[in-house]
């Protein structure tokens, strides 16, 4: 390794009795792309915040270019002046302000000026964008930009403050594969300029693509630092989770196939969103739908669930045409939808786990005088907590105290309680770490094996291939290819089809 830029030695931190970090070391060289990886709750964020001067470490030290940081109490500004810039997952941008102002705002505050010189604002924003070879309309409001563009704004803003180390926290969680590639090209440019990057992630494939060295932490402890070239996927998963995870392809039991499919969608159309959508779903199938963000996947799921009225087309259940104009209709026809955004669409986060689960089946819980029976409610909730092994002391605990994986199980439970025949899962493992991901996949497979028809929508082609027997590829609102047997294809092949098609259409 070349010259060392940052060195964290023996950092420990305890929050109300919970040891978040235990004697963790981290070394980043000048111009190095370093990756910090670990499951949710492993202590990644805590470590970043200690480096950034947001939290104070209980013990240990952080040195930048050999000088100790935060010797005299913590101060975020000290880290910033030493050249550390953190780009948080939410990007900390101002949606209502222009691109120019968003980029220059830190610099303006730093110089402690009282007035605003708009010429300087624009010129320094322009300069920062030019440094990474980007061109974005300076007068556009940030709220009108895509997540990927917003990220570029956040990086440019970091550059206005003479960043020497840019820490990116889960930078790729909301952008498409293509945009990830673009982001990586920017990261390489930064590296050329001698800027170090700490890339914090739990998406393994990306980590392999971009990083030079990987520090792995688990349960607040550093479990190793490796040159990326010495690791492979399986080894990394093993080190990260402490166990071996294996996937056998999901094989559809042909005996379950019936003459009339469970669900068939014919000629579904919606202006600006999707067109000419035809597909069927059999009992016991896991049908994967994938494609880039914006390909219309989510919109179709919402159309089937009655949340997005299509302009034309029919939906048939067991051969009978059904009219679904609301989620109530969908539920009564045995359709369930696990939404893409668990936090906003899937859960009442501040409410109890039990209350969240029974919300879909309140009618079943009615007793005398048509009032909800507390006993029935309790039994139903506890039943599901047990069935899906949700880790909680009781059903009365609020959902937001659970980990991502357990929260998603609550959403699953809530829909399984309605006893659906068709279950649409839109991004079932978004933001869930790899260990819990696996158990969610197991639950899904188990449901399919028992005869439920499942549609799984995901960005991650690997996830689709691992778990679905049949795959639909979408691009720009159309189904561009159907793969009858997912065992006959590879991730590269599918990715290739999806992006090629995208480029052709975009170029036309």
């Amino acid at each position: 390794m070349s010259e060392v830029f940052l060195e964290a030695k023996g950092v420990s931190k305890t929050f109300v009795g919970v040891k978040a970090l235990d004697n963790v070391d981290l070394t980043i060289g000048k111009g190095e792309i370093h990756c910090l990886i670990g499951e949710n709750g492993s202590g990644k964020s805590t470590l970043i915040k200690i480096i950034g001067g947001v939290y104070k470490a209980d013990s240990g030290s952080v040195l930048i270019e050999g000088r100790e940081l935060h010797e005299h109490g913590i101060q975020a500004i000290e880290s910033i002046r030493a050249g550390v810039q953190i780009i948080y997952q939410d990007l900390s941008l101002f949606p209502n302000l222009t691109v120019a102002e968003n980029i220059s705002i830190n610099q303006m505050l730093e110089t402690n000026q009282q007035g605003v010189n708009w010429k300087t604002v624009r010129s320094s924003a322009k300069k920062a964008l030019e440094e990474i070879g980007e061109e974005i309309d300076l007068d556009e409001r940030v709220e009108n930009l895509s997540v990927a563009k917003k990220q570029i704004i956040a990086i440019s803003r970091a550059l206005t403050q003479n960043a020497k180390l840019i820490i990116m926290d889960e930078a790729t969680s909301a952008i498409t594969k293509e945009e990830v590639d673009h982001l990586f090209s920017i990261i390489l440019k930064l590296k050329e300029r001698g800027i170090s990057i700490l890339f914090v992630s739990h998406k393994l494939s990306e980590v392999f693509e971009i990083s030079e060295n990987i520090t792995i932490i688990r349960d607040g402890k550093k479990v190793g630092v490796y040159p990326t070239s010495e690791l492979d996927y399986e080894k990394l998963v093993f080190i990260m989770t402490g166990r071996k995870l294996e996937y056998a392809p999901y094989i559809y039991n042909e005996e379950m196939k019936e003459d009339v499919p469970l669900l068939s969608v014919e000629g579904l159309n919606k202006e600006f969103q999707f067109s000419d959508i035809n597909f069927t779903l059999q009992k016991g199938e896991i049908l994967g739908i994938t494609g880039l963000i914006g390909s219309g996947r989510t919109e179709i799921a919402q159309a089937i669930f009655g949340l997005n009225k299509p302009n034309s087309g029919t939906i048939k259940l067991k051969g009978k045409t059904v009219h679904i104009s609301s989620p109530e209709d969908a539920i009564s026809h045995g359709i369930a939808l696990l939404p893409e955004d668990r936090h906003h669409q899937g859960l009442f986060e501040a409410q109890a786990i039990g209350d969240n689960i029974v919300i879909t089946v309140l009618k079943k819980l009615l007793a005398g005088l048509n009032l909800i029976s507390p006993l029935k409610k309790q039994t139903e909730g506890d039943n599901w907590i047990k069935k899906l092994s949700i880790k909680t002391p009781s059903g009365a605990t609020p959902v937001n105290s659970l980990s991502g994986g357990n929260q998603q199980r609550v959403v699953l439970a809530k829909w399984l309680a309605t006893e659906p025949e068709v279950f649409i899962l839109d991004g079932p493992t978004i933001g869930i770490d790899i260990g819990s991901k696996h158990t969610i996949h197991e639950i899904i497979r188990d449901l399919a094996e028992k005869g439920m028809g499942i549609i799984m929508i995901s960005d991650e082609i690997q996830e689709i291939l691992d778990n679905c027997n049949r795959v639909l590829l979408m691009s720009k609102g159309r189904i561009i290819k159907e793969i009858e047997d997912s065992r006959t294809t590879t991730e590269e092949e599918l990715y290739d089809i999806v992006t090629r098609n995208y480029e052709v259409e975009a170029g036309a």
């Binding site: 948080y88 209502n96 705002i105 505050l109 708009w118 600006f272 914006g294 219309g296």
Partner: protein, 336 residues
């Protein structure tokens, strides 16, 4: 500015509504579009506009202030009582007292909101009652009649910055109230556009957490915001007094929702961070035309509320429909 950008702006539609309304009223009663009537409208609405600008700044910062009217009447009623009691007959004094009261009460809001971090709506609802209650209990409940109003205030109410003679030799003019409004508009614009504290108001309204991380002093900005709104309410209090030459401690209070409606109608987002001064002024213009000129077309003043309600519903519908169309367009290009 090109045409395409104009069609996206809320202000454009609002201005169109104002124009259409004016034309309709004018065809029924041509008195409406006379210079005299317009001058009169400007005189009677300048105070409201200043109060609305205070509310606008608070909304921008992501808060809301329903106590502005209570502050205005406190400023006015305390000023007139002090003037009468002390025998000082001076308009500058009246402004000084009213503005000081406004600043002080604004600072009370600011302390609760910025230091104790309380929700703004509940806080200002509370302080509104508190201020008004204290005023009635300790300063008085009796109205001050025109005969007791100091001459300097009456003179100020009649002061014009531009005078035009009527054919019959009498005169009318553009009130000094309008000049005060222009000054307030320019000062507010300068603060919002060219000072770090002004940009901070936009920043905390847009993303409070990010503002904090960036290093903005949120307390300072909020403190400034509520004091500024209080100051403007103080200014309005004296203007209102000079306008109607009568002071009743129960006036002004109760009109805060109309003022907030005017600001929101002008395109300022109630959730904070977005809005323009131009929009606010057009919003006030629309509400004023409805309030003052329905009589001109022969409708009883009871129709006022109906029309104001209608305009608010219509205005919100337009904004909502526009957002929906924009969102649908976006979905087809890039769904995130």
């Amino acid at each position: 500015m090109n045409l395409k950008k104009l069609t996206k702006k809320n202000e454009t539609y609002l201005l169109l509504i104002v124009i259409v309304f004016s034309i309709v009223i004018n065809t029924i009663n041509p008195v409406f579009m006379t210079v005299e009537n317009i001058f009169d409208l400007l005189r009677s609405s300048s105070g409201t506009a200043i109060l609305a600008i205070g509310v606008f700044v608070v909304l921008l910062s992501g808060g809301i202030d329903v106590s502005c009217t209570a502050i205005a009447i406190c400023g006015q009623y305390i000023a007139i009582n002090v003037l009468i009691a002390s025998g000082v007959d001076n308009i500058v004094m009246a402004f000084l007292i009213s503005i000081s009261v406004g600043l002080a009460l604004g600072a009370v809001n600011a302390v609760f909101i910025s230091i104790f971090n309380l929700p703004t709506l509940i806080t200002t609802l509370g302080t509104s009652s508190l201020f008004h209650g204290l005023l009635l209990e300790f300063v008085g409940t009796k109205a001050v009649n025109v005969g007791n109003i100091p001459d300097s205030i009456k003179a100020f109410g009649k002061m014009n910055i531009l005078t035009i003679a009527r054919p019959d030799g009498t005169e009318y003019g553009l009130s000094i109230f309008f000049l005060i409004l222009v000054i307030v508009v320019v000062v507010t614009w300068l603060i919002l556009k060219f000072t770090m504290i002004g940009r901070g108001i936009y920043a905390i309204g847009g993303n409070r957490e990010a503002a904090q991380r960036t290093g903005y002093n949120i307390r300072k900005i909020q403190f400034f915001t509520y004091c500024y709104a209080g100051l403007l309410a103080g200014v309005m209090g004296v203007m209102h007094l000079a306008l109607i030459r009568y002071s009743n401690p129960n006036y002004i209070v109760g009109t805060e929702l109309n003022i907030i409606a005017a600001v929101v109608l002008g395109g300022t987002r109630i959730s904070g961070g977005t809005g323009t001064l131009t929009g606010t002024l057009i919003g006030v213009a629309l509400i004023t035309i409805l309030q003052k000129n329905l009589v001109l077309i022969g409708l009883s003043s009871y129709w006022q509320e109906f029309f104001i309600g209608m305009i608010i519903v219509l205005g919100v519908t337009i904004t909502y429909a526009q957002n929906k169309i924009n969102a649908r367009r976006k979905l087809s290009i890039d769904s995130v």
